[in-house]
């Protein structure tokens, strides 16, 4: 007998708004004239994200619960992370739309399908006014990201994983300059992403075999009871963890991170680095806190080891990097380790410190990559560290903002990085992971060395004449100022957001 599931549309309204916006964007792509497409898509995208944020705060917050036949949970952590995702993606989309005086978004190719350097590509550039497919792709990716931490069912989580990943694979391949690198990044991201999501799915299948359902609450109930297929539980958990650890870029599943971060268009890198991490950590929190918490003795030591080597490798390997985007990529790997340290605490303070760190990291990362996109040499981005030497003399504001963000990455007091690290390490120490906190502090010290070296280079390096810092439009300026202010605000007066995270950290089971 089939009974239709109860669906609480009000709780799902933010998600519905985002997906509808993405689909309308696809339609506009087909029907609008080239000349109006860029501005129409930009307004549609920003409008959709803002409306979704408004519905999240005013509607979904009052309709919390488990809905859609137990597949979606709208609870405190979901709402907090969805709100964070929406704000970060508004900033990310603003940065993506940066035109730098041209008529189309500057970082993206006019025609992703054309062969680099071909007559077809030249034709597309001459016609101009396209590149608007990035907006619906970004919206659909945001929709998947918002569904990811809300999923209470491993199958839905797998679908959300694919919905968020597929648009990102395409976006990574659309850089305007150095297109071969960009396509290569897309290929690597796609093949490794598909590989890891297959592991996630097989893990979910094993857990289904174990519990008879992919719903996390049913799996949680089945742990500890005799199901007859108990041998499937641990392999299932570890395979699911593999898929999630790949998405956050934890060692040993990190090898795609530097390549994809370097090859993808810089605004996409910022968007992807911040938002994918938020979404994937949200899903991880739900799987480990709601689903398999009862089997913690079996997976917690493994995850702790992963966190430790992630912090160490991320910090140590960043020392030998010579490309700014790769340095930021390894820094994102190290940060994944720090956030994992908080997640391992496995109680409310673990969830709240993880969410606070995600907010802090997101608001540093989007503006940092936005600033990287402004440093140019001979028309394309200058990402080698030597090209950044002495930039402070020509672009004092840019150098000041970037240095401040680097200090936040390093976790210096009065920045959000310090508060975030303090929160996750405190949570770890309170839950018998003091050794992990010690490794974390040592790894922070190593990463601080590389950031300070970069700041010294920015201010005291031998200035190079071929590197210019272009003046950004209001879009990028707004995103950078927002990011810097939030980073400062979370460092000076973190209490409101810490309280918000603490109040939101209660999972519905």
């Amino acid at each position: 007998m089939f009974t239709a599931p109860e669906i609480d549309y009000l709780a799902l309204l933010p998600l519905i708004v985002v997906f509808a916006g993405g689909l309308i964007g696809c339609l506009l792509e087909g029907f609008l004239k080239r000349s109006v497409r860029v501005s129409a898509q930009l307004w549609l995208t920003i409008g959709t994200l803002v409306i979704a944020l408004v519905t999240l705060v005013w509607v979904a917050r009052d309709n919390q619960g488990i809905t859609a036949a137990g597949a979606v949970t709208i609870d405190g952590p979901t709402l907090m992370l969805q709100g964070l995702l929406l704000v970060l993606s508004i900033l990310g989309v603003l940065v993506m739309s940066e035109r730098l005086g041209g008529t189309t978004p500057d970082a993206f190719t006019q025609s992703g399908v054309s062969v680099p350097g071909s007559a077809e590509e030249a034709d597309a550039v001459r016609l101009g006014g396209t590149t608007t497919e990035i907006y619906p792709l970004a919206l659909l990716a945001v929709g998947g990201m918002m569904l990811f931490p809300a999923a209470n069912d491993l199958l839905l989580m797998f679908i959300a994983l694919e919905v968020l990943s597929l648009p990102l694979y395409i976006l990574s391949g659309l850089a305007r300059r150095r297109r071969l690198l960009s396509q290569e990044a897309a290929l690597k991201y796609f093949l490794l992403g598909a590989f890891s999501s297959a592991f996630f799915l097989f893990g979910a299948v094993l857990l289904y075999g174990f519990a008879g359902s992919m719903r996390l609450d049913v799996i949680a109930e089945a742990i500890g009871t005799e199901t007859g297929l108990d041998g499937l539980l641990i392999p299932g958990i570890l395979l699911v963890a593999t898929g999630l650890l790949f998405k956050i870029g934890a060692v040993p599943f990190h090898s795609w991170t530097p390549d994809v971060y370097q090859g993808a268009p810089t605004p996409v890198t910022g968007f992807m680095a911040a938002c994918t991490k938020v979404a994937a950590f949200g899903a991880m929190l739900r799987v480990f806190y709601v689903g398999v918490e009862a089997a913690r003795l079996d997976w917690q030591p493994i995850l702790a080891a992963v966190a430790a080597i992630t912090m160490v490798i991320g910090a140590v390997v960043s020392i030998v990097q010579t490309d700014i985007k790769r340095i930021l990529a390894y820094s994102s790997i190290a940060h994944a380790g720090f956030i994992l340290t908080g997640l391992l605490a496995l109680e409310q303070v673990g969830a709240s410190s993880t969410m606070f760190y995600l907010a802090a990291y997101g608001f540093m990362t989007v503006p940092a990559f936005a600033l990287v996109a402004l440093v140019r040499s001979a028309g394309s981005e200058a990402t080698h560290v030597n090209q950044w030497a002495g930039l402070s003399r020509r672009a004092p504001w840019m150098a000041a903002a970037f240095s401040f963000l680097l200090l936040a990455f390093a976790g210096i007091p009065l920045t959000s990085g310090f508060t975030g690290k303090f929160a996750v390490f405190a949570a770890a120490i309170a839950n018998d992971y003091a050794w992990l906190a010690v490794i974390g502090v040592l790894a922070s010290a190593v990463t601080a060395y590389i950031y300070f070296k970069l700041i010294v280079l920015l201010y005291f390096g031998e200035s190079r004449t071929d590197t210019v810092v272009v003046t950004p439009s209001a879009l990028t300026t707004f995103a950078v100022v927002c990011g810097v202010l939030v980073t400062l605000g979370l460092g000076v007066a973190p209490a409101p957001v810490l309280d918000l995270a603490a109040n939101a950290a209660q999972f519905l089971r």
């Binding site: 797998f158 071969l180 093949l191 590989f195 289904y208 359902s213």
Partner: protein, 99 residues
């Protein structure tokens, strides 16, 4: 016949798919390895559905097929664009991004 044999077969297929991804050099073949892994999941899903006596697993398998199809669309598009730019579908040739 004992149902667990199908689980072993699915695990074997999954491992084969993973090996294909790790060992083969042609992107299309690598991608086929991924598809083999997804289909191994499908086989395991419907076997578990039979074991538990519920239909859930069969419905899950349908969803997985749809996702796999979507993945093929994006994947082949990326592989094609690389192939047209470089006249090569080998993963070893995609080596511009290095330290």
């Amino acid at each position: 016949m004992n149902l667990s044999a199908y689980i072993y077969l699915a695990t074997l297929l999954f491992a084969l798919g993973a090996l294909v991804v790790l060992l083969r050099r042609n992107t299309i073949i690598v991608f086929m390895g991924v598809e083999l892994m997804l289909n191994a999941c499908n086989l395991a899903l419907i076997t578990f559905a039979r074991m538990h006596g519920t239909l859930d697993g069969q419905v899950y398998a349908l969803f997985v097929m749809v996702v796999a199809a979507a993945e093929v669309v994006v994947g082949l598009a990326i592989i094609m664009s690389i192939y047209r730019a470089r006249r090569s579908a080998s993963v070893d040739d995609a080596n511009l991004l290095k330290l």
